[in-house]
Assembly symmetry: C2
Homo-oligomer: 339 residues x 2
DNA sequence: GATTGCTTTGAAAACGTTTTTATAGTATGA
DNA sequence: TCATACTATAAAAACGTTTTCAAAGCAATC
């Protein structure tokens, strides 16, 4: 039972409350005998310290919050698993809150339920919200936007680089007509990746065709629909290659292409983003830009805890990406478009 | 700042602490003017109640723990998302702890960090651990084993039924040689599903062939390897159909079959388990036994909170399953085994 | 032998709430 | 008019800790 309090232990051991507290917290001030005796009594009574009492006093919760609009998909579960492990290692808990209601997130952030927050919420939190958080000295690390001030930072992927490298790779394979399947236009990674893509095209003096900007919402089905309807609307502009905003989009894209009789990579190359766990096992195995998701989880937890414990300033860290060439892309070859 | 306390509001409003508390908590005892005034002051000062203070009083943490060995894969993220949403709806937080170290789990359970726990940990928690938890009146709900006592219950899938129905379905399609790809032999769902499978075979007076028990560890790659090596070792016993312990195994199985030149479902039928979110979009779309994963998440949270708040006894609830027929299975037709 | 200083322990305050109890003030009734 | 009852608010206790400060005991020093 959680009913045994420090008072009970004190009474039973015949000492004061403060002595019990000191004994339990290894404050090096008691005689070994006293300490031993107290600990024995505590053990015998099955004493378990009440967390709320502790926390009320210290003003800390030893809990980090992960506030997000979703945990679905490989990116998130890899991230959550990594963050949870790191939190546990460092003596913190990880509280996961999935909601699309921004106000719920803000209330939880400001309510002091957690010592710090990790936020992924697709940019619906605006500058005003951030200002409020800053004023309240909330410790926060963002995964999907760049924020930097006294108490807030970001750990993000070098998505611009990724988009640029992947596009350049496709260009070098001989592809000319390259389409980009974005997430949502407000999503940081999606935009950065597209900008890298545009930069590579411009560098190669290729035209930028707005028709080649598809919207797949970073989901398998969204991408499938986008690609399918594109092929339907622009049968004359079938791309040589697709750069998908993430691997799920790549998978949806490939499914759409297959359904229209195209073979990947023979007819059309497809490159994804993330290198999610199933990417190597997909058929064909995905060529993709690897994001160090697990590493992001570790870094974000450490950065947050440093800000909490050592009052460190927030920083922005960008994780390097790496192109992983597998089976979904190849040198451009003459394609016979199916009818 | 999180520094504004109820005292500050009281001073600023020129009333007592208790009046502020009553105003904030809608205790119907104040004059409307007083209440309004207090609320305005609180608003103006950006007062946010300190959670630890509240909780200390109530003796609760308003936090549920989800302790698991992994959150990877569609089953888990669907579950976590569902549990998180339900927790939020009911005013609780969800603390996720991913670890394979049983002792870490036990310490967290007994440490009073949370009001109740949801446990999925592949049966490494033994009867003794459960007895300890019972003695300490820990509120717990298990997802992967049957436990029932004063403070513990289970919400599980009707896996035996599922295995039985799926197997019967395959038999009715005309398949004779049906293999089962299990998870690990200690995993509850895996075992139950297999027992249902065996029961259906026996009912049909089919022989039970131990060679047809494959082990795929509930993972895509594990299943791929198991199927591939089976085909290699028993080229004379190629099954008519595979019943996979979960959808990931089914996907790995199909990939292995394709790699050996078999086409699904033309040559071999494959049935999975779970109906994960990508099952309808896979190629071919998976025939599978649907588990109500999101519903499991909702039920487990509610059951736990009922035990916490209303001192209800633990119960065991089994969720019905449903066979969803899609494209990965069909009536047996003469197959020409590839060379 | 008194003073100082150190060691060990205890008493009490503090954290921010909610809840219980007390105290004015006001209305009601005979 | 005075007791009674009720209302609105305030004061104080309580939740379970940690921490600060005081006190007591004792050894060492002069």
């Amino acid at each position: 039972m959680g009913k045994v309090t420090i008072k009970d232990v004190a009474r039973e051991a015949g000492v004061s409350i403060s002595t019990v507290s000191n004994a339990l917290n290894n404050v090096d001030v008691l005689t070994p005998e006293t300490k031993k005796h107290v600990l024995e009594v505590a053990e015998r009574l099955n004493y378990v310290p009440n967390l709320n009492g502790k926390l009320l006093k210290s003003g800390k919760t030893k809990l980090l919050g992960f506030f997000t609009t979703s945990v679905a998909g490989p990116y998130f579960y890899t991230l959550v698993e990594s963050m949870s492990r790191e939190c546990d290692r460092l003596g913190y808990g990880l509280s996961v809150l999935v909601t699309k209601d921004k106000q719920v997130i803000m209330n939880n952030i400001l309510g002091g339920r957690v010592d710090g927050v990790i936020i992924f919420e697709e940019l619906k939190i605006n500058d005003h919200d951030i200002a409020v958080m800053a004023k309240n000295k909330i410790k926060a690390v963002f995964l999907d936007r760049v924020v930097q001030n006294e108490t807030m930072g970001s750990i993000i992927f070098n998505s611009f680089e990724g988009g640029y490298e992947a596009t350049k790779y496709l260009i070098n394979l001989g592809h000319r007509k390259i389409a980009y399947i974005s997430g949502v236009d407000t999503m940081f990674d999606s935009v950065e990746r597209r900008e890298g893509y545009v930069a590579a095209l411009q560098e190669a003096n290729f035209p930028i065709d707005q028709d080649y900007f598809l919207q797949g919402y970073f989901e398998e089905e969204g991408s499938y629909n986008a690609v399918k309807s594109f092929l339907h609307m622009h049968p004359d502009k079938v791309p040589d290659a697709f750069l998908a905003g993430n691997d799920l989009s790549a998978i949806g894209c490939i499914r759409a292409l297959k359904s229209q009789g195209y073979e990947v990579p023979r007819d059309i190359s497809v490159v994804g983003f993330d290198d999610i766990d199933i990417a190597p096992y997909f058929s064909p195995p995905l060529t993709t830009v690897r994001n160090q998701i697990a590493r992001q989880g570790i870094l974000v937890v450490n950065h947050l805890i440093r800000m909490i414990q050592k009052k460190e300033q927030g920083t922005v860290e960008r994780l390097d990406v790496e192109l992983v060439v597998r089976g979904s892309s190849q040198v451009k070859s003459g394609r016979h478009d199916p009818v």
